[in-house]
């Protein structure tokens, strides 16, 4: 009978494995989302959730119990001050696994594990110069380009050529802005007439 053989060995001795688990749980609680192999993510989920449950309890004994597992006292503080209160009304299930593409080198199944209320920082798709471009000298050509790009959240190959053209216009306009006002006006006029 397959009794009493729960868990994975992950090719490590007991002490090595325990260290790995504690490292992973500490980092998961610190960064709120980590990417690791599916096997490791599935192993640490119950451990990390137990630590978060301790954080919801919030008393001194719970804090000391968390200290026994988590390596970093700052992370324990974070669990008790931030994560615990955030999860106050959630009866377990604080973590979410999402499968990712297999790892390149060895094809291992990868997955991300994150707190369920983790909010991904939105990618900042453009350098400041391009966003500042419409303000600088109102380039008529660049203006329709810029808003079209932004909501689409472009894939890399799509964005490259458009962004380049927009930037080229922006560069021109910033140059003209730095020059004399007369030149600027002339250039703008030229831009309008070219339209």
């Amino acid at each position: 009978m397959r009794h009493r053989v729960a868990g994975r060995h992950l090719g490590r001795e007991t002490s090595h494995r325990l260290s790995l688990y504690r490292n992973l749980v500490t980092d998961l609680l610190r960064y709120e989302r980590i990417t690791t192999t599916e096997a490791k993510a599935k192993e640490i989920r119950p451990m990390a959730e137990k630590i978060i449950t301790l954080g919801r309890r919030g008393d001194l004994h719970a804090r000391r119990q968390a200290m026994r597992f988590v390596y970093d006292t700052a992370v324990v503080k974070k669990v008790f001050d931030e994560i615990g209160p955030r999860m106050k009304d959630r009866p377990g299930g604080y973590l979410r696994l999402t499968g990712l593409e297999p790892r390149k080198g060895d094809g291992a199944r990868m997955s991300s594990i994150e707190l369920v209320d983790f909010v991904d920082a939105p990618p900042t798709p453009r350098p400041q110069r391009v966003t500042a471009a419409p303000k600088a000298a109102a380039p008529v050509a660049a203006a329709p380009d810029a808003p079209a790009l932004e909501p689409a959240e472009p894939t890399v190959d799509e964005a490259e050529p458009e962004g380049e053209s927009a930037e080229a216009v922006a560069e021109e306009t910033t140059e003209s802005a730095s020059e004399l006002a007369q030149d600027d006006a002339e250039e703008r006029e030229a831009g309008h007439s070219a339209e």
């Binding site: 999402t98 499968g99 991300s112 991904d120 990618p123 350098p127 890399v156 490259e160 962004g163 930037e167």
Partner: protein, 65 residues
């Protein structure tokens, strides 16, 4: 003298043995957001989403300066 096969193995038997060796297709579905193929039950590597929200943090598209 080492032990050796007594008879030549015919092509038909070789084929029968290999009849189970075919590699199966991975379960591929089209990403509902960007329509590119992705593994079923996995986040899309192109647009970084799974079931509408859980995103991989995508690198911001670089703009050449």
């Amino acid at each position: 003298m080492p032990p050796l096969p007594k008879r030549k193995y015919p092509k038909s038997r070789q084929g029968k043995r290999r009849s189970h060796l075919a590699i199966k297709m991975p379960h591929i579905v089209d990403c509902p957001r960007c329509k590119s193929p992705r593994l079923a039950h996995h986040a899309c590597p192109i647009c970084g989403t799974y079931r509408g929200r859980e995103a991989i943090t995508m690198p911001a598209p670089e703009l050449e300066s």
